[in-house]
Symmetry: C2
Subunit: 338 residues, 2 copies
Amino acid sequence: MNKNKATIHDISKALGIDSSTVSRALNDSPRVSKKTKGKILKKAKELGYQRNSLASSLRTSKTQTIAVVLPRISRHFFARVIAGIEETAHKAGYNVIICQSLDNLEREKKIISTLISNRVDGIMISISMETTNYEHLEAYKKLDKPIVFFDRPCELPNCINVNIDNFQASFDATQHLISRGCKHIVHFSGSQKIELYRQRKAGYIAALEKNNIKINDHYIFESNLSEEDGIRAAKKILRLKNIDGLYSSNDTAAISAMKYFKSKRVRVPEDIAVVGFNNDPISAVIEPSLTTINQPALEIGKMASNLLFEQINNKTKTTKIQFRLLNSELIIRHSSKK
Amino acid sequence: MNKNKATIHDISKALGIDSSTVSRALNDSPRVSKKTKGKILKKAKELGYQRNSLASSLRTSKTQTIAVVLPRISRHFFARVIAGIEETAHKAGYNVIICQSLDNLEREKKIISTLISNRVDGIMISISMETTNYEHLEAYKKLDKPIVFFDRPCELPNCINVNIDNFQASFDATQHLISRGCKHIVHFSGSQKIELYRQRKAGYIAALEKNNIKINDHYIFESNLSEEDGIRAAKKILRLKNIDGLYSSNDTAAISAMKYFKSKRVRVPEDIAVVGFNNDPISAVIEPSLTTINQPALEIGKMASNLLFEQINNKTKTTKIQFRLLNSELIIRHSSKK
């Protein structure tokens, strides 16, 4: 046998191991055990196997493509983050691929596996509401490629997170309602499986505690923060009778609650003052206009992609979890002007 | 030489042709001329070359991924189209990759070339404002893979277009203003390089003609229909003095013009009645609410992806340009209630 012409099939035959496993091992795939890899590499050397340089460069070279994975592009915040990413990526000569998980873990897994076969050079992700294990993301990290998390924090080792200080933002929003005289403040919270919403709830609680206001569990409504959730919660609020403030973890639920109050002739802000979160464009236009928290979405996108490119190009490696916090801003409008 | 083990390099050496060209020819790449392909295939047969089945299946098998290429995800219409596509794709077990051209031809070309190397099974595209030649799309078509155009019509042979009847929608919008007594109607038009905006302008002109209203070129403002364009055009309108109606090719420019009118105490609809296009969420919320045309975006996304899957799976081939027209709807609100 010509030593320089040994193929994957020769290795496969010699070891009695399936050729696709041999191929994976030679590409250092995480799907092959260390032990098997060692065996295969030894035999490859022995037989004088040389990788096809064309196919190999195809596999190892940069694709100049990065991916953004997020729950839903239709949300204004995410669209702005993407705008920031596109701006940075364009300057760096990179293409951007966008994928939606629709807050579904199975979809997110399929997306990551597609991105692995497409060999994208790096991933920026805001994880789905259902993502509580990170195996699919670890599989990508094992290829020695970087992941940057944004918006929803994720404690995967050796990764960077770019977020706002959700605790502080919530604290400020709640403190604002208290300073306007609110004493019975409801909080619309997102799923407590998500670190982001835990932080927002913690900020609300901390502000009440600091002002010696009793924490009332009946005042905290956990939901997916959809329009329907907002209406459902608004009905409960009116049944509670004494509520004078509402701090919602997003604008969508805050606005649909405000519409319901209006239909029942409950006045905002006179009867109930309202603060939202996200500064959706509609929040400036509705009447009364909604006090809300503005996140620097464009900056988040730029920072996340810059940190990703640093890792792709300079091979700087993060050896621990890093959190980069950007400042958000409370925009005071009419819905809280008591 | 073992005939069954002939490699690409053997063919390359025998013919004095670069091995990457040989590889491309064996994969039927459009980048290799017919003549060269013929030569290479003949030699391959002669030497008994057999393709590596693993690598080959990698190249020819379906990736279960489709791509949507569009100008900007932040526009409500496009976000809704994508929602329709994701729904259909999910049922069919396909992943969806989204890419933004930002209305830039160079970006669009780079995207298509990335999608070619990622071997997506089909593409749905709303072409950029700058796209007047279609070479990059033809390169994808030559791989025997389907393209479906939506929103912005494109006359590439053997392709399907899914759109609304833009001529009719514009005719109806203009007729509506005329029926409310408007005699001097301005039209905000998009770039006349784009078929879509040509159709909308034609509908406006046809409605005026049908009502024996003189066409006035000074009443037609061509722009990119941005907020700034809307303000600029609104200033010109007020200088014209006698304008009593405005039909804009999108809501963005219509709304910013309305805001400018308000700031100058020009009343909508009493002084100038306004009709937009797209039914952006904000159009229902501003005061006065905006009369506009609603496109069945979700349906467009579903139909476009269904037609794409038909071509991917059944290999039904379109042998001519097909136009599938969906109905739009004029939503009458306060901005045109004279």
